[in-house]
Symmetry: C2
Subunit: 200 residues, 2 copies
DNA sequence: CTTGTAACTGTATATAATTACAGTTACTTG
DNA sequence: CAAGTAACTGTAATTATATACAGTTACAAG
């Protein structure tokens, strides 16, 4: 869609509002009345301009034949992250498997994405392989929270404990080892905190 | 909305389809063409009938002045069932705590409601106290499936095993006992099978 | 058997709506 | 300064659309 003039934006906005209010597109005369035009041709040529710029479509010979052209809107729902390749940001487009129809507001704080769980290291926290963990993207974690952490290009879900420069990443499964990190020696990034879980 | 005749339903459906296709309501003549009427009055009187029965609204003097009347549609999302009172059906209105904005199609087979988990008896299946279990309402369960069962007015979530007249309801937690039921002696109702889980 | 209603045909007409043509004014761009 | 364009006025004509009126046929209910 080409760029619109101020007046054209104003008119497009009014058309949107009219359609929301009335359930049908406006006539030329209605547009005249609303914008204060004294000539129906003013409405006509504005509509033609909007059509030329791709904002609307006009169906000729048809009363109220105005169609809004949909902006290619962003997919709704939460992105589902599958395997995360080494060295790439977790929300890279390449990692997005799909968009799941789940409201981010279902979780508090809101979820920003879903991460598919690999392995059984959090089994005792009720997090099983294949589950989708809802993650709130944040850099700050409290002790004891379940976090999504990146340690040397590996993304992992663990329980977070910190004392000064020492961080411990605890699995909730005695079969797995506790990961100890000295922040001076190894880079650790908190990618977010777990705010929920979905098993489908 | 009053009940519609078959023909009226057909016409209402066509109007819906037309609006979805064209973005605007149809004219009387378009309706004639579609239904094979040779008189515009056939369309007119059908529209009047639909208006009388509350299916649509007609704006007089306005071209394409047909508005669909929204059905007072059921709240979208899945009903969340909290505590189930003894002797009452699980989907009784009184048990519905709220509607959660979750698409039933997120689960396969589709979920019909969510049930809040009480107790830790399914801990090892990754089902914790307070979790919401998505349930597909069905009377049929396979051995080994996790089911919502009603045993003498108690609603419980367990793993289902059946051999002839004997049913065993297994917890996934060694701290809880296996429940054995002889179908000849005690009534057991399967309320549905677990199809997913949400922890918010 | 009458009455009411659904589901139409057929004709006619007023009005709602699109759309063409001929201009004007102000502003921007090469 | 000429040419193009946005943003209009004003008039007119055609076509699209709603809608009234007068009937017909079939069927169901009191």
């Amino acid at each position: 869609m080409q760029e619109l003039t101020l007046r054209q934006q104003e008119i497009l906005l009014w058309i949107r509002q009219y359609m929301a209010d009335h359930g049908i597109p406006p006539t030329r005369l209605a547009l005249c009345a609303a914008m204060g035009f004294r000539s129906p041709n003013a409405a006509e040529s504005h509509l033609r301009a909007l059509e030329r710029k791709g904002a609307i479509e006009l169906v000729q010979g048809v009363s109220r034949g105005i169609r809004l052209v949909e902006e290619p809107k962003e997919p709704s729902g939460l992105p589902l992250i599958g395997k995360v390749a080494a060295g790439q940001p977790i929300l890279a487009v390449a990692h997005i498997e799909s968009y799941e129809p789940i409201a981010p507001e279902l979780f508090r704080p809101v979820a920003h994405y879903l991460l598919r769980v690999q392995g059984e290291s959090m089994r005792n926290a009720g997090i099983l392989e294949g589950d989708l963990v809802a993650v709130h993207h944040t850099l700050i974690a409290q002790n004891g929270q379940i976090v999504v952490a990146r340690l040397e290009d590996e993304v992992t879900i663990k329980r977070f404990y910190r004392q000064g420069e020492r961080v411990e990443l605890h699995p909730d499964n005695p079969d797995y080892p506790v990961i100890e990190v000295n922040l001076k020696k190894r880079a650790l990034h908190i990618e977010g905190v777990m705010v929920g879980l979905i098993r489908a």
